[in-house]
Amino acid sequence: MNIGPNEIGEIVASVWATMLGGELFALPGSIELEGELISGEIHMRGEDGFEGLVRIVASLPVAQAAARVMFTTDTPDDRDATDTIAELINMIGGNIKSLIAEDARLDLPKVTHGQPDTSADAAAIARADADFIAADHPFRVTLLRMR
């Protein structure tokens, strides 16, 4: 099954509603991700050679807002925001994987503060991006298929 922005949007909305409960708006076009960012990605690898990754790039306030709910705290620290992004990309990636490569395995998620390393993106044979607004700030979820 091919996954496009609409399918990614449905998965992200489901994860957001179930785990965080706050408002989430899907955006029809791409948005500019500016300011302080946090990025997370998770790789999927299948024994049949399938390889893909799911990435989230979020404005830091999105991660902090999500962390406030996840940790039930008014003052999440950097580690809380990092852990929150890791778990969000783990859930989003796992749900996407179940639709496109159920037998593939997920690596552990990786999170970095700032822009992600996109040097491998040029090798992707398929790509889908979905943009959202949560807590008045933007984030993007990207699916890349490498093989």
Partner: protein, 119 residues
């Protein structure tokens, strides 16, 4: 009763514990582990009544934890709360004595459906 929650994500442990409360299991003691190896030690020391574990964890994953637990002669009710739930993983969980496998994201109703038998 005592519930052991094993997940390498502090965020997910927090959500599992919050969902336990939302599902009506407020009065139970919850102990936490960051990976399967730590969870195995805690299970031996604390003898929980129910174990809820992630599958993908560093050091010792959830399936290895379950196998080690059973090899140690402990038949504590054990369930996975995990992102991945392929038919192969469900079969492995079942073969090794897991009582249930709940996929993330989950709801309080999902917990009630599986936990009521044990709590």
């Amino acid at each position: 009763m005592k519930i052991l929650v094993a997940d390498d994500s502090k965020a997910m442990r927090s959500i599992v514990i919050r969902t336990l409360r939302q599902a009506g299991y407020s009065g139970h003691k919850v102990i936490e582990a960051e990976n399967g190896a730590q969870a195995l030690e805690l299970a031996k020391d604390e003898e929980p009544d129910l174990i809820v574990s992630d599958w993908n964890m560093p050091e010792m994953n959830g399936l290895e934890f379950l196998k080690a637990l059973r090899a140690a002669g402990m038949d504590t009710p054990f369930g996975f709360v995990t992102t991945e739930a392929s038919p192969e993983m469900r079969a492995l969980a079942d073969e090794n004595g897991a009582a249930f496998l709940i996929t993330k994201p989950f709801t309080a109703e999902d917990f009630q459906k599986h936990f009521d038998e044990y709590l």
